[in-house]
């Protein structure tokens, strides 16, 4: 049998153990005997006679701890122990898979108990991580600003969107898990309004979280401001700025462009003056309260730009 092996990468989500069992049985029937699985999901097979075999997964941490006694129980009942992988134990029973599924569980209570063990062992840690790390990190990196530390703004943005991605991934995992558990529970104990209510609540909660996260990101990355023109220039009242406010003026040598940051609450503000088609002649990074003045050196048409990142405040622009 040397060299007669193959490895297949296959991904099953945490609660998809039934699909995994069916997959392994199907492979066995095609002449590929399952020999083990390694992280993160490489299934190893060896060439064998095509024959029928039932594969079953159990999730029992206690069993893995007292492995000898655990495996003995299954061996006595005619199940061959194959391996452990991330808390699951894999068993096989060779021979015809009859009309009735060969089962390692003989009643519904124990099938539900296995689901509960999977939930406690795999899903609860994810929920804890989600609530205590992912959400707070996403929140802090999205709201947070780091005035004065150059380059931090972009790091914050990357972190904020990374944690947004992770949060979405987790919510997808939770949804898939809920759908899968609903299917199992329905299969085991029949459809009932109690079960339906439980899962409807779970989905409602997931929906509310998605809406909340969406709203939170929209509030953080939107732009809302008001520009008021006056005789000397204009005033920009910023509720939230994540874009650029550009105005063009014909200016002469000796004119002065004066910015006054009258109010500044959070975020970053960037001010610049640029002659059309040229490099900026004035640029100010991460401004704070105060006056910033630039005297025009030559006649021409200039762009005056106020841009921001999660910024809130009031800027007055005066042309003198």
């Amino acid at each position: 049998m040397m060299g007669n092996g193959k490895t297949v990468f296959k991904f099953f989500t945490i609660p998809q153990y039934r699909q995994e069992e069916d997959y392994l049985s199907a492979m066995n029937e095609k002449g590929w005997r399952f020999t083990g699985v390694t992280f993160p999901g490489f299934y190893h097979f060896e060439k064998s006679e095509p024959e029928q075999a039932a594969y079953r997964l159990d999730y029992n941490r206690e069993g893995i701890r007292d492995k000898d006694e655990y495996v003995q129980m299954f061996t006595d009942c005619g199940w061959e122990y194959i391996c452990d992988f991330v808390g699951y134990s894999y068993f096989r029973k060779q021979g015809a898979v009859g009309e009735e599924r060969e089962e390692i569980f003989c009643d519904d209570a124990s099938r539900l108990d296995m689901m509960k063990r999977v939930f406690r062992g795999k899903i609860i840690p994810l929920i804890i991580l989600f609530v205590s790390v992912i959400i707070p990190q996403m929140f802090m990196n999205t709201v947070g600003n780091s005035v004065g530390i150059k380059g931090w703004g972009i790091v914050r943005d990357i972190l904020s969107f990374t944690f947004l991605g992770l949060a979405i991934l987790y919510l997808v995992i939770f949804s898939v898990t809920a759908v899968q558990f609903y299917k199992y529970e329905k299969l085991v104990s029949g459809d009932s309004s109690g079960i339906r209510l439980k899962y409807v609540s779970v989905f409602a909660l997931i929906g509310v979280m998605i809406a909340g996260i969406g709203l939170f990101f929209w509030l953080s990355y939107r732009s809302s401001y008001e520009v008021t023109e006056n005789a000397a220039g204009y005033v920009v009242k910023i509720e939230k700025l994540n874009t650029s406010i550009v105005k063009e003026y014909d200016l002469k040598k000796g004119d002065a462009v004066r910015f006054h940051i009258a109010e500044f609450e959070r975020g970053h503000l960037y001010l610049s003056v640029t002659e059309i088609g040229k490099e900026p002649v004035f640029y100010s990074d991460s401004c704070n309260f105060g006056y910033y003045t630039y005297e025009i050196q030559n006649d021409g048409r200039f762009r005056i730009e106020i841009s921001g990142k999660k910024a809130t405040g009031i800027v007055e622009v005066t042309i003198e």
């Binding site: 029992n60 206690e62 299954f74 006595d76 390692i104 009643d107 124990s110």
Partner: protein
């Protein structure tokens, strides 16, 4: 008997009932499987995942206790609490049986 035990074990599953019934004499999991198979003429074959899960749960809840290990098989026997629960179940099933007889 506290409320938790009553809630979980009264009424109990067929598997649970047979485990307690068989553990009046010390026995291991597979021994119970064989006894039940004999008693029911092969109708009930208890499965290993169910057996392992039920035995460890019952041990934790104090219905049975670990006696010793023999050739990698854990031998258990019923406790005082286990007998109490079993008696409750037996009374319930007896009543069920009586009523069934009367109505037939």
């Amino acid at each position: 008997m506290d409320a938790h035990i009553k809630k979980v074990y009264v009424p109990m599953t067929e598997t649970g009932f047979y485990i307690l019934l068989c553990l009046k004499e010390p026995n291991h999991g597979y021994g119970i499987v064989q006894m039940v198979k004999e008693m029911t003429e092969g109708d009930i074959v208890l499965a290993p995942g169910t057996m392992y899960g039920s035995l460890s749960k019952m041990e934790k809840d104090g219905l049975i206790r670990f006696v010793r290990e023999e050739e990698k098989r854990k031998i258990y026997s019923i406790t005082e609490l286990g007998s109490e629960v079993l008696n409750l179940e037996m009374k319930r099933i007896e009543r069920l049986y009586r009523n069934m007889k009367e109505m037939r």
